[in-house]
């Protein structure tokens, strides 16, 4: 005999029962014993439901449960089995037959057109029941009900139980246990399969004198010290058959409290109530919760309203720590739920496809626009403009679809900070700001690894040991802060700590020792800080398993640069460090600003363009590809793009400077012509040109020509490096004026 045979039996049995049900229904009006007829119809459905449950056919169980409930009402005389109900039940019988026929392996695969039929039948059935659509059938339970004699009894001091590593179970069997066919020893044997019974104390206080003793009664209680990794509900389940015949109290080991809190933090479902959260994490068992809810309702009728949390703590079922954590989780869940209601899940691939199409659309519409200008037909130009505007709006909203808040990524670090700081014996708070700042989902995915590295670094190297902190008059609790905000077309993510900061002396020494810097080179504070992003650089004395192997920061930098971003560091020794990551908002389409030098087109992101000014003869100009001007009292270094990209001499009558601001740096690009705003679809350069400095990508113009997208940050840094000294001298000079 095997399961396959049993399944065949089920199929044959179901067909038989359904046929019987049909016969009984059709012959109901003329039968001799209506009660027995109803009963056997009920039994047919009941049996199918029970067997279907054994085979895990939940769909059949759910549907037959509804039919059965209606039949149960008929059986108890709530309403009569009249013509319309017989017709309905016949339809149900047909449908159950269909379901049984559609069984495919472990599941019922109904044709889609049948589902409305099922819904209609269920609605008709529910009309008889006057109840909500609830299918309690799904909960298969071993039932020992009623809380009448349930009392939580504090048998031992909670302190002594808290102090030890093991569960403490105290169970006092009721007098009737033996008479009910239950053997206390059998439960203890079963308990031993879940773990080790370290110590067991038999309590014989209730044992009467020998002359008063009833041989059929049980007088024993046990205090058990139990070592096990089982959950509370698993342990409680051991005693489920004697649950109402005994007094049972299960106290968790002390270590469990932190586990519970951890579980609560990790619960995914956002719709749980407090009690459900506690059950989920194993603090309460479902049964304890049900009892509590009953108690709560009873008290409510009495006038005073008590909260579940209070009851739980007062009765010593859980520590207030755990309840607080659960309440916190509940509040979070509520918030998240409010948001959920307004979102639709879309396959990321579909979204990417849409963005790609819109990129093509943007290029095509740019082509149409330039053609219409050439054709010079006024009405055509007008309609082309309308279309261009719409395309722009479509592009905006399509890109917005990919924007997600960074908060979710940030929140993941709560756990990291807690775990790592515990491991290191440091006390560290994580502060999160700007969680609602949005950026492209692809960027978020790629940034979380580098971020993780930076956060770990802050905890490990940044925050000092508690002893050192108190020596430096800092609060014992260290502070790590994650912050995000938008700044001129980029998003800035900051990881800062109030820790030890960078020791620039040491970094310089190490860099000289490694040959990264020549001995006589003079570096600014900023340059020294940036050295930590070089490959193979770590000054941490001890290489810990958290960080410090020197493979970190340069990988972080490379990852960020791959996203067309930059990373910089601000640090003051003994005060703290801030690492600032600057990333483009999106990787797909940007608003660009187009410029022309000779025959070549260049594009920079519009957001970083500060202003455009004419380069006139008054400005000191050296035609060696680098120079600077006085811009309203400020030094503005500039670069001639034509020279930089080695284009043959430009013959423009007037030259323009496009002033670019990137972070705190400003520089000018000298170009021949300003072409204005341009929707730029970013195309990668291909492996051959990927490493060309100063260029980050290309784009296709409406005319089919290619324009290069400039990498503003690397160009600015180039200018700064070359002209650094001259500029600082000039800055001093202009300050004197």
């Amino acid at each position: 005999m095997n399961m396959e045979q049993a399944f065949q039996t089920f199929l044959a049995e179901s067909t038989e029962l359904l046929q019987d049900m049909e016969n009984k229904l059709l012959g109901f009006d003329n039968c001799d014993d209506p009660a027995e007829s109803v009963n056997s119809i009920f039994r047919a459905v009941h049996t199918i439901k029970g067997s279907a449950g054994l085979f895990g056919l939940d769909d059949i169980v759910a549907f037959t449960h509804v039919v059965e409930s209606v039949l149960d009402e008929v059986r108890s005389g709530s309403f009569v089995l009249d013509e319309p109900l017989i017709n309905l039940l016949l339809q149900c019988k047909d449908y159950i037959g269909k379901m049984v026929d559609s069984i495919d392996g472990e599941a019922v695969l109904m044709a889609p057109e049948d589902l409305p039929v099922q819904a209609a039948l269920e609605d008709a059935l529910f009309a008889y029941l006057n109840t909500e659509h609830s299918t309690s059938a799904a909960t298969a339970l071993v039932g020992i009900d009623d809380a009448d004699n349930y009392q939580s009894v504090s048998v031992i001091e909670s302190d002594s139980a808290m102090a030890n590593e093991n569960w403490h179970i105290s169970v006092y069997f009721g007098a009737d246990v033996l008479r009910n066919g239950m053997d206390p020893l059998s439960f203890l044997r079963y308990l031993a399969t879940l773990g080790d019974i370290v110590h067991i104390e038999t309590v014989t206080d209730d044992l009467p004198g020998i002359e008063d003793m009833d041989a059929e009664s049980c007088y024993l209680g046990y205090e058990i010290n139990f070592h096990s990794s089982a959950s509370k509900s698993q342990i409680e389940d051991v005693f489920e058959f004697v649950r109402e015949d005994c007094q049972l109290k299960i106290l968790p080991p002390y270590a469990k409290v932190s586990d519970f809190i951890e579980i609560i933090d990790n619960i995914q479902n956002d719709e749980l109530k407090l009690g459900e959260i506690l059950v989920r994490c194993g603090t309460l068992t479902q049964r304890e919760l049900d009892n509590l809810l009953q108690m709560q309702n009873a008290v409510k009728e009495g006038g005073t309203h008590r909260l579940i949390g209070e009851i739980v703590v007062e009765d010593g079922l859980a520590s207030s720590e755990v309840v607080t954590a659960a309440l916190h989780r509940q509040a979070q869940g509520k918030k998240a739920k409010e948001k959920q209601a307004q979102t639709v899940r879309v396959d990321a691939e579909k979204l990417d496809h849409l963005i790609n199409l819109i990129g093509e659309l943007v290029i095509a519409s740019a082509g149409i626009e330039s053609e219409t200008h050439l054709a010079g037909i006024a009405s055509l130009v007008e309609s082309a403009q309308t279309m261009t505007r719409l395309v722009e709006e479509v592009r905006e909203s399509a890109l917005n679809l990919r924007m997600v808040q960074i908060g979710e990524t940030f929140n993941r670090f709560q756990r990291v900070v807690r775990d790592v700081s515990k491991e290191l014996g440091k006390d560290i708070d994580l502060q999160i700001d700007g969680a609602d700042t949005e950026l492209d989902k692809t960027v978020i995915e790629k940034i979380s690894d580098p971020l993780m590295h930076l956060v770990r670094n802050s905890i490990d190297h940044g925050i000092e040991s508690p002893a050192l902190r108190s020596q430096r008059n800092k609060p014992a609790t260290g502070n790590v802060k994650l912050n995000a905000y938008h700044e001129s077309g980029t998003i800035v993510i900051e990881v800062s700590d109030d820790g030890g900061g960078l020791n620039r002396e040491k970094i310089l020494q190490k860099a000289r020792a490694n040959g990264l810097v020549s001995a006589e080179a003079e570096l600014s504070a900023h340059d020294i800080n940036q050295l930590i992003f070089e490959a193979g650089f770590s000054t941490a004395e001890a290489v810990s398993n958290i960080s410090g192997r020197g493979v970190g920061m340069d990988v972080v930098r490379r990852n960020i640069e791959a996203l067309r971003g930059t990373v910089e560091i601000d640090s003051e020794y003994t005060v703290g460090t801030t690492i600032r990551i600057r990333l483009p908002l999106t990787l797909a389409i940007i608003d660009g600003f187009m410029m022309k030098v000779g025959d070549a087109f260049y594009v920079v992101p519009l957001d970083i363009v500060e202003e455009c000014i004419e380069l006139n003869a008054n400005h000191s100009v050296g035609h060696d590809g680098r120079s600077y001007i006085n811009l309203r009292g400020e030094v503005l270094p500039f670069i001639r793009l034509g020279d930089y990209f080695c284009q043959s001499g430009s013959n423009a009558k007037r030259e323009n400077i496009v002033v670019i601001k990137y972070g705190s740096l400003k520089a000018g690009f000298v170009v021949d012509e300003l072409m204005g705003e341009f929707q730029t679809v970013i195309k990668p350069l291909g492996p051959l040109f990927e490493r060309v400095p100063g260029i980050s990508g290309s784009t296709i113009l409406g005319s089919g020509e290619v324009a290069l997208i400039l990498d503003a940050s690397s160009l600015i840094h180039l200018v700064m490096q070359r002209d650094g000294k001259a500029i600082s001298a000039a800055a001093q000079q202009s300050a004197l004026h």
Binding site: F10, E13, G53, A137, A140, G181
Partner: protein, 122 residues
Amino acid sequence: MAKTIMIVDDSASLRQVVSIALIGAGYDVIEGCDGKDALSKLQGQKISLIVSDVNMPNMDGITMVQEIKKLPAYKFTPIIMLTTESADDKKAAGQAAGAKAWMVKPFKPEQLLMAVSKLVQP
């Protein structure tokens, strides 16, 4: 010697599945297809646990439990009732008859197995 468990239900497929599970766990199994059938098969056997449906033709589970409790040899034999009735009066009737434990149908074989192993080890 393996302990013997009796399973009483009018559904042959349910009996089969339960038997497969119990035999696999090392118990001996006797099947009864309704209350009357079960009572007739009890005679002369040593049965450690009875698992029975409530709603069956010929003799229902409640009546059967009442009859079983009258037999001196089975006075203290634990009985698990299998029931879909969530109605409390049915449970109370079962309780009054002498069955203290019940499982709500539908259940999975392993759920029954776990319940059984708490009361009787093979």
